[in-house]
């Protein structure tokens, strides 16, 4: 697997390695691009990194986000209602080069497929992204995308679920780069809380197939749940809670609210 020595996966691995050297889990923060507006969004990304995020997932909104609960759906819709195109969002992403952490695009396969995988890979790489996450692209359908991602040195993070068979987990481990994303529960983002024992078991099962870092997301929302996950996973991913911090309340206060939450989460991932 390590013959794929490419810029994206290498940068992500380095971020996880740094966290490990500090004896903590890496903290991955999801924020929707240009939500609630371009300036606030940029300031929130900066605040998240300043407060200790190791990796940023930048959400590129899709009109019909099947894996997302009400919070991220509303953030997506807000950006779409403002009329911001995918090109504008990628331009926004390109403008985050000063952030000293790897950034990945999180979007749905429809966005990548409609642009054409080749063009989407080019645009992501040109925007300085280290990788891409497409939660509705399962491993067996991923071949054509992976060819383009590899060509541009982009990592592709795949999701694994507690109901995935070992055969599926092997396939997911095989095609993933950057890390393997273990879903913390059966469900969509931002609704229920993580299923602890089931997720810990899943992380163990994934590890049987790969040396890649395993990060857990969906259902992690505060310091306590971040700390709990950090005990058994290499990374902790938080999205909806951060979007709520960014979006609930006046935009001027959003960066400070995000900073406060991410600081808490960072303390959580370090207290394992």
């Amino acid at each position: 697997m390590s013959e794929r020595v490419a810029a994206g996966p290498t940068a992500i691995q380095a971020a996880f390695d740094r966290a490990k050297a500090e004896d903590r889990a890496a903290l991955v923060i999801y924020l929707t691009a240009t939500y609630p507006d371009t300036a606030t969004s940029r300031a929130c990304m900066e605040a998240a990194v300043d407060a200790g995020a190791d990796v940023i997932e930048v959400g590129i909104p899709f009109s019909d986000p099947m894996m997302d609960g009400p919070t991220i759906q509303a953030a997506n819709q807000h950006v779409l209602d403002a009329g911001r195109s995918v090109s504008e969002q990628l331009a926004f992403v390109a403008d985050l080069a000063h952030l000293d952490v790897p950034r990945l695009a999180m979007t749905y396969v429809t966005i990548a497929d409609t642009r054409g995988y080749a063009r989407f890979a080019d645009e992501c790489a040109d925007a300085g992204l280290a990788g891409v996450i497409l939660p509705d692209l399962p491993a067996p359908e991923a071949g054509p995308w992976l060819a383009e991602a590899d060509r541009r040195g982009l990592a592709t993070v795949f999701l694994a679920s507690s109901v995935s068979t070992d055969e599926r987990l092997a396939a997911i481990a095989q095609v993933s780069s950057g890390w393997v994303y273990a879903a913390g529960l059966l469900g969509v983002t931002g609704v229920r809380s993580i299923s602890g024992d089931v997720t810990q078991d899943l992380v163990g099962r994934i590890r049987a197939h790969t040396d890649l870092p395993v990060a857990v997301g969906i259902g992690v929302k505060d310091r306590a749940s971040a700390a709990e996950v950090a005990r058994y996973a290499d990374g902790v991913i938080v999205g909806s809670a951060v979007i709520r911090a960014a979006g609930e309340g006046d935009p001027d206060g959003a960066p400070a609210r995000v900073h406060a939450l991410v600081s808490e989460l960072r303390a959580g991932v370090a207290s394992r």
């Binding site: 429809t110 679920s161 109901v163 068979t165 879903a183 609704v191």
Partner: protein
């Protein structure tokens, strides 16, 4: 012969592949991979199991009222200038073709040992059929329905509730069928262990398009035999309305291999193709992924799904099942469109000329035949048209939208000095 009774037919290959040419596949969150594999296995096992075919046959016949008649609609034929044979799915139990699919999937649900079904519904006909089967099989049932559709198909909401289903109005997005499907998918991801998502059309991730096609193909299994027996020879065309595409694919299935029979799918053009307020997916859409498969979809240049519009809640959907995309691209089937106005004309003429109140969905097929049948198919052409459902659910909406005076006010003593 149906593949259901002939397991050596090529459908298994198609099932394993999950693709119709470039279209289809399975673009879903990993959490659903197990459920889809389980479903494909259950379906394969059922197809090899004579007991399943027998149960299905018995349910369709004794409970569902099959076979449905093929009826030569003389007065409508005269008005259209072509000979119209109606395949009367409106006479099946629950009032539409939707039960064909539902009883089959309910049997599969039972075989998989799942106690709960969920469904999306637009016109409410699939929701009613699912609620019906849930009552019959003792399953828990939740139906997602766009809030706009809850409003315009009220009768069916009440029917579902009477049958014991929970109806969840969906307020997100366009508040119609597309959003109901999103919500059903989210429920399924969250409750996949005990829940079967009983998809209502020949769409969604593999293996749904193949399963639904096979279950709906009973329409053309019957119509091929009926036409041969009652009319003799071959029809010139088979015409059906297309929402997600289940009644159309079922109506086409047995004719696809028959040379010389045109297959015509009628989509909903709303206020007109190109008006920006249409649901004519194949006419206006482009290749994209929606709801788990790659097909033709109404999307903008970014891949954002565009709002569809149709007077008919059952056709008000920006996607279409992948096999229709394939049939359109291969040229074996042709997809045309009827506007709201043409559909309402079809609705009215079917009422007045045949004594049949049609659902607004097949009223699009009638409307197209009335407006274009003679020109496109030739004077006297013989047409099998699937009357996919009855229109009780649509009566209020038609009066409101069409505004035509059928004397309601007079009958109720309103508006008189």
């Amino acid at each position: 012969m149906s593949r259901l009774t002939d397991p050596t037919a090529p459908s298994e290959e198609a099932l394993r592949e999950g693709y119709f040419g470039d279209f289809g596949g399975s673009f879903v969150p990993e959490a659903l991979s197990g459920a889809l594999a389980q479903l494909a296995d259950a379906w394969r096992a059922a197809q090899k199991d004579g007991a399943f075919a027998e149960q299905l046959d018995r349910l369709r016949r004794d409970y569902g009222g099959r076979p449905t008649p093929l009826y030569r609609a003389e007065r409508l034929s005269e008005a259209a200038g072509v000979e119209v044979w109606l395949k009367r799915e409106d006479l099946a139990h629950t009032g539409s073709h939707k039960l064909n699919n539902v009883v089959g999937q309910a049997l599969l649900t039972q075989r998989m040992g799942k106690p709960r079904v969920i469904a999306e519904t637009g016109a409410g006909q699939h929701g009613v059929a699912t609620a019906t089967a849930a009552a019959l099989f003792g399953l828990d049932c939740t139906v997602y329905m766009g809030a706009e559709d809850v409003r315009r198909q009220r009768l069916n909401v009440v029917r579902m509730q009477l049958l014991g289903a929970e109806v969840v109005p969906v307020d997100s997005g366009t508040r119609t069928l597309k959003d109901a499907i999103n919500e059903a998918m989210r429920d399924w991801v969250s409750n996949v262990d005990e829940t079967h998502y009983l998809i209502g059309s020949a769409m969604g991730p593999h293996p749904f398009p193949s399963i639904v096609r096979e279950l709906q193909s009973i329409i053309s299994v019957e119509s091929t035999q009926q036409f041969d027996f009652q009319a003799g020879g071959l029809p010139d065309a088979v015409v059906a309305c297309v929402g997600g595409g289940s009644n159309a694919i079922g109506s086409f299935a047995e004719w696809i291999e028959v040379e010389g029979v045109k297959l015509i799918g009628v989509e909903a053009a709303g206020e007109g193709v190109g008006s920006g307020r249409s649901a004519a997916t194949i006419s206006e859409g482009r290749e994209a992924v929606l709801h788990g498969s790659r097909s033709i979809v109404l999307v903008d240049d970014d891949g954002q799904v565009l709002p569809a519009h149709s007077v008919s809640a059952g056709l008000d959907y920006p996607g279409v099942g992948p096999e229709h995309a394939f049939l359109a691209r291969s040229g074996r089937a042709t997809y045309v469109a009827a506007t709201d106005q043409e559909a309402i004309e079809g609705f009215r003429r079917t009422c007045e000329l045949e004594g049949i109140i049609p659902a607004l969905e097949p009223a699009h097929a009638v409307g197209w035949v009335l407006a274009h049948g003679r020109a496109e198919l030739g004077e006297g052409a013989r047409v099998v048209l699937t009357m996919s459902g009855r229109g009780d659910k649509d009566v209020d909406e038609v009066l409101e939208v069409a505004g035509f005076d059928v004397g309601v006010a007079k009958a109720f003593g309103e508006g008189e000095a």
